[in-house]
């Protein structure tokens, strides 16, 4: 396995403070390795976006990071904790080391500035030593990489189609050649044809620029196809993580299992799908013990009292996969 670039450790995020706080992300530990695509899936409201924003400290109020650390490993440098950076250090860290692509590209681009302005802004902020020509050249090159011709540089966001805007955002995310790109549902608003095209481009770019991607979506089938590793979130916690193929073929957590059983397949035999009964938990009144137990077909006493910890399951002693479940055989080793 490649070395890590981003280590999220015991990460906690709250919305609000004190008694009012909603604990949206609980004790998440996750490692992103160099050059890999890590998929993050889970029900809506399970805390995926919160995690992504939290790692970059971009959560809007009333979000606060209530614990944990995010260790960033710069290439060839000493690792440091993003959570301990001052605001100006954070500013320097952002985009140059970790960039982020949000769900709605229309909302991510400032409607009153040209695409070029917004792109050059980033370069100017982080590499002030570059000349204007060099910056323009860099921006053009990047746009070309994502399949937008240089003459669209001076277009305003509203003059571009949704797909183009999304590609501009991806291009912008890569313009400083960061180590980590976080993508929060970058293609959900697009149709499948467009989605596939953009992802294909991303994969190609990753091979050339060698960055790591944290890819968030609730579309599991997409993840299975697209990512190297998948982590499943439920109720603010990671409940399972594994290589994507492993997870698809042999999921260990009942929730992951339910998820995989919920999407109809396009090919193969037509089968009745059962879905997951019940509805997602309310963060203000989390069930005790395993958050999934009220919906879990296999739940037993222990599930409602003790919170399972994420760890390598006994049954498959594979260091690459972890699960948080009390079911026999899935209890973590040690």
């Amino acid at each position: 396995m490649k070395p890590p670039v981003l280590e999220i450790k015991n990460f906690n995020v709250d919305y609000g403070l004190g008694d009012q706080a909603v604990q949206a992300v609980r004790d998440v530990t996750l490692t992103l390795h160099r050059g890999e695509v890590l998929g993050l899936a889970g029900e809506s409201g399970s805390g995926k976006s919160t995690l992504a924003y939290g790692v970059t400290r971009l959560l809007p109020p009333p979000g606060v990071i209530s614990g944990g650390s995010v260790i960033y490993h710069p290439p060839g440098g000493e690792p440091y904790d993003v959570m301990a950076l001052s605001n100006s250090e954070l500013r320097a860290f952002r985009w140059a080391e970790t960039s982020i692509v949000f769900q709605g590209a229309m909302n991510s681009l400032n409607p009153v500035h040209k695409v070029s302005t917004q792109m050059l802004d980033v370069i100017r902020a982080h590499e002030p030593q570059l000349t204007q020509e060099a910056r323009v050249a860099r921006a053009k090159e990047m746009l070309k990489l994502v399949g937008i011709s240089a003459d669209r540089m001076d277009a305003y966001p509203h003059q571009l189609s949704g797909g183009m805007r999304q590609r501009v955002m991806i291009g912008m995310a890569l313009v400083l050649e960061p180590q980590v790109v976080i993508m929060d549902e970058p293609t959900t608003a697009l149709d499948v044809v467009m989605q596939r095209q953009i992802l294909a481009q991303l994969v190609e770019l990753r091979e050339r620029l060698d960055f790591s991607v944290l890819f968030i979506t609730h579309d599991l089938s997409l993840l299975v196809e697209f990512s190297d590793r998948i982590a499943i979130m439920y109720g603010g916690r990671i409940v399972e993580q594994a290589k994507s193929a492993d997870l698809y073929k042999d999921s260990l957590h009942p929730y992951s299992e339910g998820l995989l059983k919920s999407f109809p397949a396009l090919r193969g035999p037509r089968k009745e799908l059962a879905g997951i009964p019940g509805s997602p938990p309310d963060l203000r009144g989390m069930p005790t013990g395993c958050a999934f137990h009220p919906r879990c077909p296999h739940a037993f006493d222990r599930c409602s009292t003790e919170i399972p910890v994420l760890g390598v399951p006994e049954a498959r002693n594979d260091p690459n996969r972890e699960v948080a479940c009390w079911l026999p055989g899935r209890v973590p080793v040690g």
Binding site: R94, W95, F102, L109, P111
Partner: protein, 326 residues
């Protein structure tokens, strides 16, 4: 471009409507200017004089409404707004050219300064919510609720007493002849300080409030978060992303207030005896000077229209997404 054409059609229509209303209002008024003149003089005009005044003002003839309306339009297109009664036989246009510059300079500059200042402070207050600036909001609200003529009166009492630097009335030192020399301009500026200050104080907080609220709204837009995520400097995000976008909705408010420069602050002119158009309006109303009244109203309406047109153009320039509806 099409958008502009559409707007222009709207402006033409509005101008027509305004001129028409303008034409009819005085004609529906009971009483007449001669009586007003007599009233004003309270006995200094003998009753015999009444007839000579009617003859003088040409009010002894009768024409049909329609033909008057037609004549009115013809006159307007000739730039002829008629002859004032109070300043007989001075043409209305002359009175307006005499007073308009004062108003435009005083209120115009003040409005612009107030907008700029208020917007700037509003940007800061909205950006740093919870800072001391934000704490001043209730005070600002209170100040903006004070009727500005009252503020003006207070200012005159407190600041313009005998021996003060601030003159309490007029547009310039009596005895000076308006010209572009230092003495006159200095005097004009000195005379405009107090009224300007009054308008500024009472209007700036409105801008602060609206800009602040827009900033707060814009600050939670995704592109602001993205701008932060891009690691841009604080100032860049505040100015180029947040303030730039928050400014847009305020532009039309600004245009509207520019339009109201002419008619909106008439009380300040009255209170400070400032030789502007607001004072003229007051006079014209007092003495039933229809032609002057019409002329002023027309000017005000047209300036509102022009200001709106400017706002539209500004909007076009500032906002690449051309709006269809407003």
């Amino acid at each position: 471009m099409k958008f502009l054409l559409q707007r222009i059609a709207f402006y033409l229509f509005t101008a027509w409507a305004a001129v028409t209303i303008n034409f009819f209002i005085p004609r529906l008024i009971p009483g007449d200017p001669v009586q007003s003149l007599i009233n004003k003089q309270q006995g200094n005009i003998s009753t015999e004089a009444v007839h000579s005044l009617y003859v003088l003002f040409g009010l002894d003839k009768n024409a049909s409404m329609l033909s008057q309306y037609k004549d009115y339009w013809i006159q307007i297109f000739h730039g002829d707004l008629g002859t004032s009664f109070t300043f007989f036989p001075a043409p209305v246009s002359q009175i307006l050219t005499q007073s308009l510059p004062w108003t435009i300079l005083l209120v115009g500059i003040t409005t612009i300064v107030s907008f700029a200042l208020g917007t700037g402070l509003g940007v800061l207050a909205g950006w740093r919510r919870g800072s001391w600036m934000d704490g001043l909001l209730p005070v600002t609200t209170f100040i903006s609720s004070i009727p500005y003529f009252w503020l003006g009166l207070l200012a005159i009492t407190l600041l313009a007493g005998a021996g003060s630097f601030f003159p309490s009335s007029g547009g310039y030192e009596p005895g000076l002849v308006p010209s572009w020399n230092g003495e006159f301009i200095g005097s004009a500026i000195q005379h405009s300080l107090l009224p300007a200050l009054t308008i500024l104080i009472s209007s700036v907080s409105g801008w602060i409030l609206s800009m602040r609220n827009m900033m707060v709204t814009v600050a939670s837009e995704d592109y602001i978060t993205v701008a932060h995520a891009k690691g841009l400097s604080e100032r860049r995000v505040m100015v180029s992303y947040a303030a730039r976008n928050a400014l847009l909705p305020n532009v039309s408010g600004f245009a509207l207030s520019l339009g109201f420069i002419v008619g909106g602050t008439l009380l300040v002119e009255i209170v400070f005896s400032y030789p502007g158009i607001g004072y003229n309006l007051f006079q014209a109303v007092g003495s039933k000077d229809y032609p002057l009244l019409q002329g002023i109203f027309l000017i005000i309406t047209l300036s509102v229209l022009v200001a709106n047109l400017l706002a539209d153009v500004a909007y076009l320039l500032l906002d690449p997404r051309t709006r269809k509806e407003g």
